[in-house]
């Protein structure tokens, strides 16, 4: 079906400084520093205080950390997601192209931060847990490596992933009135790795003490990890709209209005435009 297109002859351009890496640099830099410090903490206290679940030291150094991080994560998630929702744009139909382009940049940095956190959780800390389990026989589900991996690194990427999705749904016409299948998978599928910890720990508690990493008990993590591939579909939705916005803002080419995008978001993401629009 042919789409109505609007043309603007005089379009405000955002300042080039609007497309700064600063916020992502701060967020990812902070996460890297935090991850390094966590590694230092593990090296200091995992083998020295984390081998006997019944000891007082374990309670202090590891269970104390577990409870503290769970509270902090819940508060951070509620604050971030709540703030994003409460400050949502209630007049998206009047969104200017320049502002929309800046918001896509912010979303890109949000997604980039999420992907770093996902890398740290699903790749680095998950195989680090393998390092621990290949070396130590567990006497609890809350091993030092689990306190870091399951209950810290996974919630961190969930906070950023869901946060980015809420940002998109509250500030961008493309995601405001429709639910993106790939974006939902990109965020929701790795998110489900965290609840799957319940199955994993129950299995290890009930019938599977050893740490054969390829054991079927672990395959829930695998299936949910596949969802990361949905970043391909997510960018295929976003890139054509970003290209259209750049072409409109900088070259004055026609573009669909926010109202039209909200009415039929599929029309704004012709994948061919991503390749054909190369500048």
């Amino acid at each position: 079906m042919a789409q109505t297109q609007t043309t603007a002859t005089a379009v405000a351009r955002p300042a080039i400084t609007a497309f700064s890496w600063k916020s992502a640099g701060i967020a990812i830099g902070a996460l890297i520093v935090f991850d390094v410090l966590i590694n230092v903490y593990e090296r200091l206290y995992a083998f020295s205080k984390g081998l006997d679940y019944t000891s007082a030291d374990y309670e202090t150094y590891w269970m104390g950390m577990l409870f503290a991080e769970l509270v902090l994560e819940a508060v951070t998630a509620a604050a971030l997601w709540g703030w994003l929702w409460m400050t949502r744009d209630r007049a998206l139909e009047r969104l200017s192209p320049a502002e929309e382009l800046k918001r896509y940049w912010a979303l890109g940095l949000f997604v980039l931060t999420y992907t770093y956190a996902a890398y740290a959780g699903a790749s680095y800390f998950t195989e680090q847990d393998g390092t621990w389990h290949q070396t130590v026989i567990r006497d609890t589900d809350f091993t030092p490596s689990h306190v870091i991996e399951f209950y810290q690194s996974y919630p961190i990427y969930i906070i950023f992933g869901v946060g980015s999705l809420v940002y998109a749904m509250t500030r961008l016409p493309q995601f405001a009135k429709a639910f993106s299948l790939p974006y939902a998978i990109l965020v929701g599928s790795p998110l489900m790795i965290f609840p799957n910890v319940g199955l994993n720990e129950f299995g290890h508690t009930r019938w599977f003490m050893e740490e054969l990493f390829v054991a079927p008990l672990h395959w829930g993590f695998v299936t949910f990890g596949w969802g990361t591939l949905a970043i391909l579909g997510t960018w295929l939705q976003i890139c054509p709209r970003v290209m259209a916005l750049i072409n409109h803002v900088y070259y004055g080419k026609p573009i669909q209005s926010p109202v039209e995008v909200m009415k039929d978001p599929s029309s704004s993401c012709d994948p061919a435009a991503c390749a054909a629009g190369a500048m």
Partner: protein
């Protein structure tokens, strides 16, 4: 003059978006591919003694052609970029080395030559080249998938060959990798004894590797097809589900 400045700004903004897409895709593919790999073939990757002639050439290739096929499906069909497999395997190798070096070696002090990961880079380059030359994913599945399975063991052989040298230890004939294994008893040691170098055909010595690679290549072909389709039609989908509010009136009445 004015146009040139606008053009330069537009290009700069577009390039910045390019980098966001490239970096985020690379990072999240490491996350997904690595968690997949370590939990379906990880034990063979962690330890040199697990890198045997029988199971390793089967398990590792057939489980790791998955992400490359799915990413190829999008990067090739949408962008004509024949780098999907190499991108995935490069990311996987990065994720593996980060942990092997910092944690297996740096934290729990296993020697690096005991815990180095396998490489899929040569097979990935071949898979990408087959797709680029043929432009056809079915041919890539048939030819590239076969090569993926066949090439895995020989391309890793230079790294593992020294550990397959026979030695006599306490009156028994074993490989150097076995000796290292018995020096470093791990929680996976019981599984090693149950799984690695077992089976009725191992008495044929080197012959078992060819059979394993043959089988591996066959299954790699079979795995490539569904993963290409999932990449193209599910993970690479641009589907939107409309909310009730945004749906047409006639749709709401049903």
């Amino acid at each position: 003059m004015q146009y040139s400045q606008v053009d330069a700004e537009a290009r700069a903004v577009a390039r910045k978006f390019d980098w966001v897409v490239i970096l985020s895709t690379f990072l999240v593919l490491i996350a997904g591919f690595h968690v997949h790999q370590m939990l379906v073939a990880g034990d063979w990757s962690f330890w040199v003694d697990w890198k045997d002639r029988n199971w390793w050439p089967i398990v590792a290739p057939i489980m790791e052609i998955t992400f490359p096929a799915a990413v190829q499906a999008v990067l090739w069909t949408k962008f004509r970029m024949p780098i999907g497999a190499t991108l995935c395997c490069l990311g996987l190798l990065f994720g593996e080395w980060m942990n092997r070096y910092i944690n297996f070696n740096g934290w729990t002090h296993y020697p690096l030559n005991f815990v180095f990961p396998e490489t899929f880079i040569p097979q990935a380059v071949v898979l990408d080249i087959v797709l680029m030359l043929t432009g056809n994913w079915i041919v890539t599945a048939l030819v590239g998938g076969e090569l993926w399975g066949w090439l895995f063991y020989p391309s890793n052989w230079p790294m593992i060959a020294p550990f397959h040298l026979p030695v006599e230890y306490q009156g028994s004939l074993m490989s150097l990798a076995d000796v290292i294994n018995y020096m470093y008893v791990r929680t996976s040691t019981p599984e090693y004894l149950r799984i690695v170098e077992t089976g009725t055909m191992r008495s044929f010595a080197g012959g078992v590797t060819g059979v394993a690679a043959f089988f591996s290549a066959f299954v790699s072909v079979c795995m490539y097809v569904p993963w290409w389709l999932m990449g193209a039609h599910f993970f690479g989908s641009t589907k939107f589900f409309k909310t009730y509010e945004a749906a047409p009136v006639e749709a709401r009445q049903h």
